[in-house]
Each structure stands twice: as C-alpha cells, then as structure tokens.
C-alpha cells in the first residue's frame, strides 16, 4: 500500500515565477491538507481540500491556491514567488472527509526561491 507521494522532490525557482506542486494521497483517503514548513519551524497549515473544494484555509495570501481532482490527488500552486516562500511543502492525507482523523504526511517538496 503506497503512502502519500509528492512530486517533485526538489525545485529551484526565481522570484516572480510560479510553481505547481503535486500530491497523491494514501489509498482510501479523500482529504488532502497542505502545510509549509520553514527550516527549524513546525508545519504551518495552508489549506485543506475535500470533495474537490477548499474547506479550510490558514493565514496565507491568495498567491497560494490549490486544486483537488476526482481521484483525490491535489496540486498546490504558488504565484509571484517571494524569497520567503522557500520552505518544505508537505502534503498530508486522511480518510475522514475533512473531519478529525490521523493525517499521514508525504516526504515533501523542498522549494528554493532565488
């Protein structure tokens, strides 16, 4: 049983560019959450998708957007990249339809903005 997978593993972009990160949830999971983890910090909640809709959102600007597909996989898009967007982006999936349950994290995508 494959766990949560994310692609790409690493990414280098320059300021002002746009980036798309991808996440495939664990088999049987229908809810995907995205987190940003800066070096030495805890993960920060960006948003959560369930039934192809954004259900919850953290304190992130509109430059951060997402999408969930019918197969439950998800994308995170970041426009107009800033140096401060450099971080590890984690995807977590759960089987709960957006309710409280265990969230399983993927290995993350390391984004570097130059």
């Amino acid at each position: 049983d494959a766990g949560v997978t994310q692609s790409p593993t690493h990414l280098i972009k320059t300021r002002g560019q746009q980036v798309t990160l991808r996440c495939s949830p664990k088999s049987g999971h229908d809810t995907v959450s995205w987190y940003q983890q800066a070096l030495g910090q805890g993960p920060q909640f960006i948003f959560q998708y369930y039934e192809e809709e954004e259900r919850q959102r953290g304190n992130f600007p509109d430059r951060f957007s997402g999408h969930q597909f019918p197969n439950y996989s998800s994308e995170l898009n970041v426009n107009a990249l800033l140096l401060g967007d450099s971080a590890l982006y984690l995807c977590a999936s759960s089987p709960s339809g957006g309710r409280t349950d265990t969230q399983y994290f993927g290995p993350g995508t390391r984004l570097t903005v130059l």
Binding site: G42, P43, F45, Q56, G98, T100, D101
Partner: protein
C-alpha cells in the same frame, strides 16, 4: 494561535524517560503528536480527542487535560530511534482537520 511546546530541547541517555508538553491558549478539540527526523516527513504518533478517546502507537503514551488546554507526551525507556523533533498539532474547532503546530521539541537520545 500557535501552541507552546516545552522544553525546546532535551538530551537523554538510552533507557531514560522524558515528558514533552504542549500548551494552548484556546480551547482544544484534539491534539495530534508527530515525530520528525531530519530530512524526513513527520510520522504520526498519537491523537487525543476531547472526551478521552485516543489513537496511536502502543509504546507511546500521552495525556490531554481539556480544562487546561494542555497535552503531554510520555517517552519511557527511550531508545536511540526516539531521537528527532516532536511536534504537537492542535485543533481548536471540532472536526475540521485544521492543525496548528507548535515550534517543536528536539530530543536527542545518546548511547
């Protein structure tokens, strides 16, 4: 609001015990504990829900004081594999799945 974890760091010898605390200023619905090793994804350890329900590792124990909005993770007879950074994630509103994580507690277990 971000929960506060204490201590920030702890060093143990194998076989020693440790307690990691997580405190919130908001009423909590659930507390989730994770361990993250350098360069790896956070790994689920335990969920504690309002009302007393718990799910998690057999060898890990934790408590959740709903009145004080505090949770503690108990690591007993520590092993080298326990080394890593421990995060608590708190959920203030019920059944949203929106977790707010603390800043982490770094645990180092030495032989």
């Amino acid at each position: 609001q971000q929960p506060v974890q204490s201590p920030q760091a702890v060093i143990l010898r194998e076989g020693e015990d440790a307690v990691i605390n997580c405190s919130s200023s908001k009423a909590l619905y659930s507390v989730h504990w994770y361990r993250q090793k350098h360069g790896e994804a956070p790994v689920f350890l335990m969920i504690l829900l309002k009302g007393g329900e718990q799910k998690g590792h057999e060898k890990i124990s934790a408590s959740f004081n709903e009145k004080k909005q505090q949770s503690s993770l108990y690591l007993t007879a520590s092993q080298l594999s326990y080394s890593g950074t421990y995060f608590c994630g708190t959920e203030a509103s019920g059944n949203t799945g929106k977790l707010i994580f603390g800043q982490g507690t770094t645990l180092q277990v030495k032989p």
